[in-house]
Symmetry: C2
Subunit: 205 residues, 2 copies
DNA sequence: ACAATTTTTGACCATTTGGACAGAAAAATA
DNA sequence: TATTTTTCTGTCCAAATGGTCAAAAATTGT
C-alpha cells in the first residue's frame, strides 16, 4: 500500500485526483456525509482503488486537512513590518477575502471541522496556530502602542477578519439568497469595498 | 402516530424532551452524524419511541430548524426606529452576541445547515428572511442618508454583525484554543467590548 | 373494575457503507 | 520475452443505522 522509496509520477497524480474529488465531497457533505463511493465516482475510479491509495476514508480527510492548513494560514504568516501598518492589515484582510472567493470548498471544509469540535486539529490550533496568532497579535499591539493604528485588541481583530471574510464563503448560500441574484455577480467587489472602508474606519488612529 | 385534536400534556413534554436531545446531537454531529439511537439515549427513551413521536429523524431535524428560525431572527425584527440609530444597531449586535453565548448549539445547527447548502431552508432564506433583511436594510439606509450614521452598505453591515457574533459560538473551539484558557472565562465580555468599540468607530458619522 | 386508547419497548429487517480479499490487467524490470 | 512489481477492480462481508411491527405496559374514560 505504501511506496517504499519515492512516489512515482502516477502515484502523485492519482493521489492528487483523489484529494481533489474528496475535497469536493467533504465540503458538500462533511466527513460522515461523504461516501467512499461518491469520492471514487468523482475521481473516476473504483472504490477499492481509492482505499488502495489512502487506506481509509479517514486518512483522506486527515491528509487533506493537514495539507490545506499550511496554505490557509499563509496570508497571516506574511503579515509583517511594513511602511504602512494599516495597509499591511488591509492587505491581509484582502488576501483572506480572496481565498474565500477562490477556495470556498477549502473554507467550508475547515469550517465544518471546527464547528464539530475539530477532533483532528485541536493540537494544531492550540499549538502552531496559537503561536502564530500570538506573534502577529504582538506585532499589531506594537503598532497600536506606537499610535500607528487605533488602540484595539489584536486577537479579536484577527478573529473579526477571519469571521467577516470567511462568512462570504461558508455561508454563501445565505448571502446570495438575501442579496438576490442581481447582486450576485460582483458580490466580492462589494465585499471588498465594504470591508476595506469598514476596517479603515475601525483602525485609523 | 398523530394526535387528532389537541396534543396532551405528555405529548408536548415528550416532544420537547426529544427536540432538546436532538438539538444537542445535531449540533455536535450534524444531520448525518447524529444517530437516532444517540438522540433516544440523550432523551432517555427507546429508539422506536422517538420515531413514534416524530416519524423520522429527518422530521425531527426539520421541525427543530423551523421552530428555531423564529427565535433566531427576532433580534433583527426588533431593530426599529429609535432616538439613537447607532445605539439601536449596537443593541442589535449585542443581542446577537448574547444569543451566541446562550445558544451556541442553535447557532451551530444553523451554521451546519447553511454550510451544507441549506436544502431545507433555501425557500425561507430567499423568502421571509430576504424580506426582513431588505426592510431593515432600508431603515439603516435611511439613517445613513440622513447623516445619523456613517454612509455604509446596510446589507453588508448586517452580514458583518452576523459573521462576527456567530463566529464566537460556531468556532468557539478555535477561539478558545487560540486565546488560551486564561482568557476563556470572560471571553464574551472581551468580545462585547471589542465589537462595541469596533462598530462605534465604523458607524459614527 | 373493565374496556378502550395511548404510550413504550424488544426483536427484527433492509439498506447503506467502509473496507477486506483475491486475482486480473498493466507496467516496470530483467 | 519472461518475470516481478504495481495498479486496479469485481465480489463479498460485517457493522451501523433508520425504521417496522407486534405486543406489553400504562393511562384514560365509563
Amino acid at each position: 500500500m505504501n511506496s517504499p522509496r519515492k512516489a512515482t509520477r502516477i502515484q502523485r497524480e492519482k493521489r492528487e485526483v483523489i484529494l481533489t474529488a474528496a475535497l469536493e465531497a467533504f465540503s458538500e457533505d462533511g466527513l460522515r456525509g461523504a461516501t467512499l463511493e461518491k469520492i471514487a465516482e468523482k475521481a473516476g475510479m473504483s472504490k477499492p482503488h481509492v482505499v488502495y491509495y489512502f487506506g481509509s476514508k479517514d486518512a483522506i480527510y486527515t491528509d487533506l486537512l493537514q495539507s490545506l492548513l499550511e496554505v490557509w494560514v499563509q496570508p497571516l504568516r506574511d503579515l509583517s513590518e511594513d511602511a504602512d501598518p494599516l495597509a499591511a492589515i488591509l492587505t491581509y484582510m484582502r488576501r483572506k477575502l480572496r481565498m474565500s472567493q477562490d477556495m470556498p470548498r477549502e473554507s467550508k471544509m475547515f469550517a465544518t471541522e471546527i464547528l464539530h469540535g475539530a477532533p483532528r486539529m485541536r493540537p494544531q490550533l492550540s499549538g502552531d496556530l496559537k503561536v502564530l496568532v500570538d506573534e502577529k497579535a504582538a506585532l499589531i499591539a506594537r503598532w497600536s502602542a506606537e499610535g500607528k493604528i487605533a488602540k484595539i485588541d489584536p486577537h479579536h481583530l484577527i478573529f473579526s477578519i477571519w469571521a467577516m471574510t470567511q462568512h462570504y464563503a461558508d455561508f454563501d448560500i445565505q448571502v446570495e439568497a438575501v442579496l438576490g441574484d442581481a447582486r450576485k455577480a460582483n458580490l466580492y467587489d462589494e465585499a471588498d469595498a465594504f470591508l476595506t472602508e469598514f476596517f479603515v474606519r475601525a483602525l485609523r488612529p
